[in-house]
């Protein structure tokens, strides 16, 4: 079992913009949106769960429309 966090987005434009903004600051990985969140756009960003607070702050600063979820696999 490993835990990680994902940011889900309403649109792929938001996801692509978030990847560009965050990838130089945080170790984020683009991934397909996990199937159970299929209501969101198909591109999600994965990051380490230890960086949730930092990521939330960055999402707010850059006005990114994303929702953070915790994942286990």
């Amino acid at each position: 079992m490993s835990r990680y966090a994902v940011i889900l987005f309403k649109s792929s434009h938001d996801a692509i913009r978030a990847d560009k903004l965050l990838r130089d600051i945080l170790p984020v990985t683009l991934m397909p949106t996990p199937r159970r969140f299929s209501a969101s756009c198909g591109i999600a960003l994965r990051f380490d769960e230890s960086q949730i607070a930092e990521t939330e702050e960055l999402i707010r600063q850059h006005k990114l429309r994303g929702t953070i979820k915790l994942m286990e696999d």
């Binding site: 792929s12 683009l30 198909g42």
Partner: protein
């Protein structure tokens, strides 16, 4: 000496014809086929059932001489040789560093999540073949380098076009995979049961 003419036959027929002849008692066979996939499949069959195989190029195809040796027979491998599109026999070809044509940013995101999904899959290709802009996936694109490394660690061979690396001045920046050439990349395409092109 038994002669099997499998000219014009595609997988799995050449393997089935050869197996039948062997089951009927043949210990020395000459098999003629006209495609490289059949050659590879017959070589695998020979190896699995304790035969030596010698291949010769002939006009319009290949001639295999199969001779019984005393090696152990691997039943599981014998069955595997007749399944033409079995897992492990496919390849991914990327001739660009994006998926499809259209917006570059979107295409770049799509190829990253493609390799993410592939690296998590249970059915992995045997080879990933990179050419033209595709070589950037193994040299300058950090996201795809990570996924390709995971795939390589799981046993997937990553073959990277050396001509292309040179052309783009990236020869000293290759991070994952093996520098390769047209003969090897083309050869893997011929052996693979299917090639998925991005």
């Amino acid at each position: 000496m038994v002669f099997v003419d499998a000219t014009g036959k595609v997988c799995p027929i050449p393997v089935i014809m050869t197996k039948k002849a062997i089951e009927a008692g043949a210990t020395e066979l000459t098999v003629v086929v006209d495609n490289p996939t059949a050659v590879e499949n017959l070589k695998r069959l020979a190896n699995a059932i304790g035969f030596d195989a010698a291949v010769e190029d002939i006009s319009g195809g290949f001639r295999l001489s199969l001779t019984k040796n005393n090696k152990n027979v691997d039943e599981a491998a014998t069955t595997a040789t007749t399944s033409c599109a079995s897992s492990g026999s496919w390849a991914v070809f990327a001739g660009q560093d994006v998926i499809g044509s259209g917006d570059r940013e979107l295409g770049s995101s799509l190829i990253k999540i493609f390799f993410y999904a592939l690296s998590e899959s249970d059915d992995l290709p045997s080879h990933i073949l990179l050419m033209n802009d595709g070589v950037k996936l193994a040299s300058v694109n950090n996201a795809t380098i990570e996924h390709l490394q995971t795939l390589k660690d799981k046993g997937v061979s990553v073959l990277v076009c050396g001509t292309c690396l040179n052309f783009y001045g990236l020869a000293d920046q290759l991070k994952v995979g093996m520098v390769s050439n047209m003969y090897d990349i083309f050869g893997q395409m011929q052996i693979a049961a299917k090639v998925v092109s991005l």
